[in-house]
């Protein structure tokens, strides 16, 4: 079987999602039977030319980013938005709550004029995206599932049900029973309730389900005495730039 050439690119992000690939271990060895990595800053130094699949990490935050992602899109047959920043804008989206000039001054201080910035965008707000791997960081079993779909030419649909479904499968004690709030009920599953399995709340890193009942979630959170402003911050932490567009099966 001919190996598919895959290139990783990063935009505004922490590169933590790429690190997840580097941490794959044996699975990566199996994967490398199927794909050839031609560009991957996190683990290799040489830069190779052609690629069929572009795995894009990070959100689009400058004019230069916009030009660069368009070029990548032109070259790639398949483009995968990889990680929360690429899929929904991720935490970078919080920037959009503030005035752009203020943000620039705050970050770059007296050098602010040297830098260019635009409101944070998810990759699909600029170019067409074929596959999504949400999460902060991505959940590797899902990434492998997506790659298998790519290799077979099949669509992949990010689950459109709540993290709670998986959390209940795993029989975790519910955070709400402990008097702690959790965004699981309106967040897309697919991470096997990674955080709640480990005693943490769900922060909503995979983005909201396609039709979240935000009012109802707000009512629940209010009952826990959380001020409205905090609730909105909670919702916005990963979802400010945009909510992920559900892919429909063809």
């Amino acid at each position: 079987m001919k190996k598919v050439k895959v290139a990783f690119f990063d935009f505004a992000c922490c590169e933590g999602c790429q690190l997840q690939v580097a941490n794959m271990g044996d699975l990566l060895v199996d994967l490398l039977d199927r794909i050839e990595l031609v560009e991957f800053r996190e683990v290799m130094s040489e830069r190779g030319g052609d690629y069929e699949v572009a795995v894009v990490e990070g959100s689009i935050t400058t004019h230069h980013d916009i030009e660069r992602i368009k070029k990548i899109r032109e070259k790639a047959k398949i483009l995968i938005a990889y990680g929360a920043c690429a899929c929904t804008g991720g935490v970078n989206g919080m920037k959009n709550d503030f005035d752009l000039e203020d943000v620039k001054r705050y970050v770059y201080q007296d050098k602010a004029d040297w830098f260019d910035t635009v409101p944070t965008m998810a990759v699909d707000q600029v170019v067409k995206v074929d596959y999504y791997v949400p999460g902060c960081p991505v959940y590797i079993p899902e990434f492998v599932r997506v790659l298998k779909c790519v290799l077979q030419g099949l669509p992949y649909k990010v689950p459109d049900y709540a993290v709670c479904v998986e959390c209940k499968f795993n029989e975790n004690e519910c955070m709400y029973d402990k008097g702690i709030t959790c965004l699981g009920p309106i967040t897309r599953a697919g991470c096997n309730s990674w955080c709640t399995n480990n005693g943490n709340i769900c922060y909503g890193c995979r983005g909201m389900v396609s039709n979240p009942n935000k009012n109802a979630q707000m009512e629940v959170l209010k009952r826990y005495g959380i001020p409205l402003e905090w609730i909105i911050n909670k919702f916005n932490m990963y979802n400010r730039a945009k909510e992920i567009q559900p892919q429909e099966k063809e």
């Binding site: 049900y161 029989e171 389900v209 109802a216």
Partner: protein
């Protein structure tokens, strides 16, 4: 069979110990402050105290019909496929009467033709030891309203705590064999049975659900409630998290998914629990959904417990375990819903 034995409480540890040395045993164990799960135990100390234990997060249905279950392995190139059946001989210890009723409901569903072979094979390997409750476990339970607070079969052995000893009802040959091989039991007398009757008599007043409806009345309440305002109200509050259905002992919907291996040739087909509360559940090709509104999904859930199964299986599919109420962070509580329907019908 149909025999009663006594087990002194001082011998309980020995009994459970002997059981764990002979079988794989699962029993309710404490998971969090207020939550319990059925899990593998190796010593009697791991079992949650019967006074404390409320229905587990997921009912014992997970042993009959696991959350995720491989049903087929395939080789796409060679065009070969092999049905997969995974089962284990397991003793489920400490099953309450509500959950016994839940298993009976699922038995009916999965025995319908075409019969569900995986479920039925697994069912044959499971040994069930039931346990009686003497009072409501918490404010959410409604087993007495559903008439499931008393045992009605569906177990191999059934334990009733009568103070300093347990009275054990033997219901199957497998149960008989356990009693015979673990020699800590003594035969019960007429006195013991009388005592059991007295305890059960007391149950009548102890189990007060606060809803005064006979079964025909309950049937009637749900028979013509399609247009009730209650559903709109629930729809506004519901988050569609699916908890109410995932934890329900009589929900049995599943999805079937193929997953290929990295060799892009072999793979497996598995089934995974699904829920009528999920966005995609009633979607068909083209993206159209038959139940787009949350109100409709909530109504569907209730009618699946209190209306449809009566026509099909002649019984309610709510066991009264109260799990859906406990699991709902939006506080959509089954007792409140019933009360709201009663009030709405009375024109309040």
């Amino acid at each position: 069979m149909d025999q009663y034995y006594r087990l002194n409480k001082t011998e309980c540890r020995e009994f459970v110990g002997a059981l764990t040395s002979r079988y794989q045993v699962v029993a309710p164990v404490k998971r969090g402050e207020k939550s319990f799960v059925f899990a593998r135990i190796s010593s009697p100390d791991e079992i949650a105290s019967p006074e404390e234990y409320i229905p587990t997060i997921i009912p014992p249905k997970k042993y009959f019909f696991p959350q995720r279950e491989t049903i087929l392995e395939y080789d796409a190139v060679a065009q070969r496929q092999k049905a997969v059946m995974e089962y284990e001989k397991v003793v489920i210890f400490g099953v309450r009467t509500c959950d016994l009723a839940g298993i009976q409901c699922l038995n009916m569903v999965f025995s319908e033709r075409p019969r569900d072979v995986n479920y039925l094979i697994r069912k044959n390997k499971l040994i069930i030891i039931g346990m009686e409750c003497w009072d409501y476990c918490d404010e959410h339970a409604l087993c007495a309203l559903m008439d499931n607070h008393l045992p009605k079969g569906g177990y191999d052995l059934f334990f009733s705590d009568l103070g300093d000893y347990h009275l054990i009802h033997v219901n199957t040959e497998v149960g008989e064999e356990i009693v015979r091989s673990i020699g800590v039991f003594t035969e019960a007398t007429g006195e013991d049975l009388k005592r059991l009757q007295e305890f059960r008599e007391k149950k009548r007043s102890a189990f007060d659900t606060g809803i005064d409806l006979s079964h025909p009345e309950l049937m009637d309440l749900f028979a013509n409630c399609e247009d009730a305002r209650v559903w709109e109200e629930l729809g506004e509050r519901c988050l569609s998290c699916g908890n109410c259905t995932t934890v329900c002992p009589t929900c049995y919907c599943f999805d079937v998914i193929d997953e290929i291996n990295l060799d892009l040739r072999t793979g497996e087909r598995f089934r995974i629990w699904d829920s009528c509360q999920n966005e995609d559940f009633a979607k068909v090709a083209g993206g159209e959904s038959f139940r787009e509104e949350r109100s409709g999904r909530q109504r569907h859930r209730y009618l699946r417990k209190f209306k449809y199964p009566l026509a099909k299986y002649s019984r309610f599919f709510c066991t009264g375990c109260g799990r859906c109420s406990r699991a709902c962070m939006a506080q959509i509580h089954i007792k409140e819903t019933i009360k709201a329907l009663i009030a709405e019908r009375a024109g309040v």
